[in-house]
Symmetry: C2
């Protein structure tokens, strides 16, 4: 698995004092700069690799402060607080000494409790019965994912006639790769901007902040393996240059692995 393009993209070299060096990956290039999901995965990886880490990710917020330039970056990860079973992290991504992204993460030792999924997986046709989508095909990073569209695919006609923001899609890494926390963080950003769908119009956009809540345990990730995830995403409001979108990711067995939310800048 270390040879997988995703593992090469998020690889970090330890520096002193909880810092790491990494570099942007041409394989995950977006129109300008890297795909936000790979930046998120790189930042989470600074926590995952950190020798002081306690437990697995529960919550992760990344703020995209400025365009990430192609090339090297430094990640500074700091445990702000370590409790008995939870830990709070701050991560900064620096280029030329300037913050280009910041992140906070909560990790925890999770124990079995009463539990229930209150948002059941929507009834959907099987992946093999859904057409392979070329959504976001012009962008290099999109070749790193297999998407099988159910509803709300990348518009075929840009006629300004969109009427809702709901996408449902089967998706996984391309080539397939066993799911882990870092790739789940990346995939959480793999829903194209809701405004493209809602308006059937392309406008300049950029994600400003994304939060991922991990409901999956390490065992759920192992059970999921490299199988398809069912993803769902929709917006609540578009107004004065910013919109939000909320997403859910289930594995094929119907276990809700992660919920994610982001706010996105748009122009016009």
């Amino acid at each position: 698995m270390a040879d997988h393009v995703f593992d090469r993209a998020i690889a970090l070299t330890p520096l002193a004092h909880g810092s790491y060096q990494g570099q942007t990956s041409p394989a995950y290039a977006n129109m300008v700069g890297p795909y936000g999901g790979i930046t998120a995965a790189q930042m989470l990886n600074a926590v995952l690799l950190h020798p002081q880490r306690l437990g697995d990710p529960v919550s992760f917020t990344v703020n995209f402060c400025a365009p990430v330039a192609d090339g090297a970056f430094v990640l500074q990860a700091r445990a702000l607080r370590t409790n008995r079973s939870t830990q709070h992290w701050l991560v900064e991504m620096l280029q030329d000494g300037q913050a280009v992204a910041s992140a906070t993460a909560v990790t925890a030792l999770r124990r079995p409790t009463w539990g229930v999924d209150d948002t059941p997986m929507p009834a959907c046709p099987a992946p093999a019965d859904c057409p392979v989508s070329d959504a976001e095909a012009p962008f290099e990073f999109a070749k790193r994912f297999e998407l099988r569209s159910i509803v709300g695919d990348w518009p075929a006609v840009w006629d300004g006639r969109g009427d809702n923001s709901l996408t449902q899609v089967w998706l996984r890494d391309q080539p397939p790769r066993a799911l882990d926390f870092a790739s789940l963080a990346s995939i959480a950003d793999m829903f194209f901007p809701r405004i493209f769908l809602r308006r059937a119009t392309l406008v300049p956009i950029g994600t400003v902040s994304m939060t991922v809540y991990f409901h999956a345990s390490a065992e759920h990730l192992v059970q999921t393996g490299d199988g398809y995830l069912l993803g769902q995403s929709y917006a609540h409001a578009f107004r004065n240059g910013f919109f939000d979108q909320s997403s859910q990711l289930w594995n094929g067995a119907g276990v809700l692995l992660a919920t994610s939310h982001q706010v996105v800048y748009y122009k016009q």
Copy 2:
């Protein structure tokens, strides 16, 4: 308005270098320590008061790292990055030099654009037709809010028979106070833990991380004044000691003012 209990609770005294001193408010006490929403509002206020602030809040994430002790705290606010129309903030709340909470915020100059609310306000009876709720009545902070229950009120019987996690409620400050960004951040935390409703069982809980996306402009806040907000909240998953809950807040005119998400620790 400066005499309102909320304003006194979030009042901060400037120290050097973008730091502020504040203190917990007995008026917003929870079972142990302060109500999380007032902690969030205090932290956001360190950004709102900061002389370098650019624009209004768009996104705000607060991580509750450790119990906040009754008494004084220091807030350190730092602009990590200032762009032409957006700004990224880091705020730490310290007691005895230790982080008890951290927050990131994005502020922005917002400009009129195309827009639409994609999640319409649910059809609900008017506030006057909804019974005043004594949800969370045992806790001092709950007296600072007027709640008028529509569905999913604080369970009357704790018999373990809950079957869903949806609450809809009219709410506003008590006594009424004109809405602003700080009070909207506080109110976003004013939905009692979904697990109490879903299980009709009281278990130990604690919010770990909360994110608020502000869809409201300053003008929407003025239009809202001290009127009721319609709040809605529900969970997606409860598993292995953590659950999430997502909330929406509309004003009486049906404008979606904020969406909010949080992840909460629970025991048992």
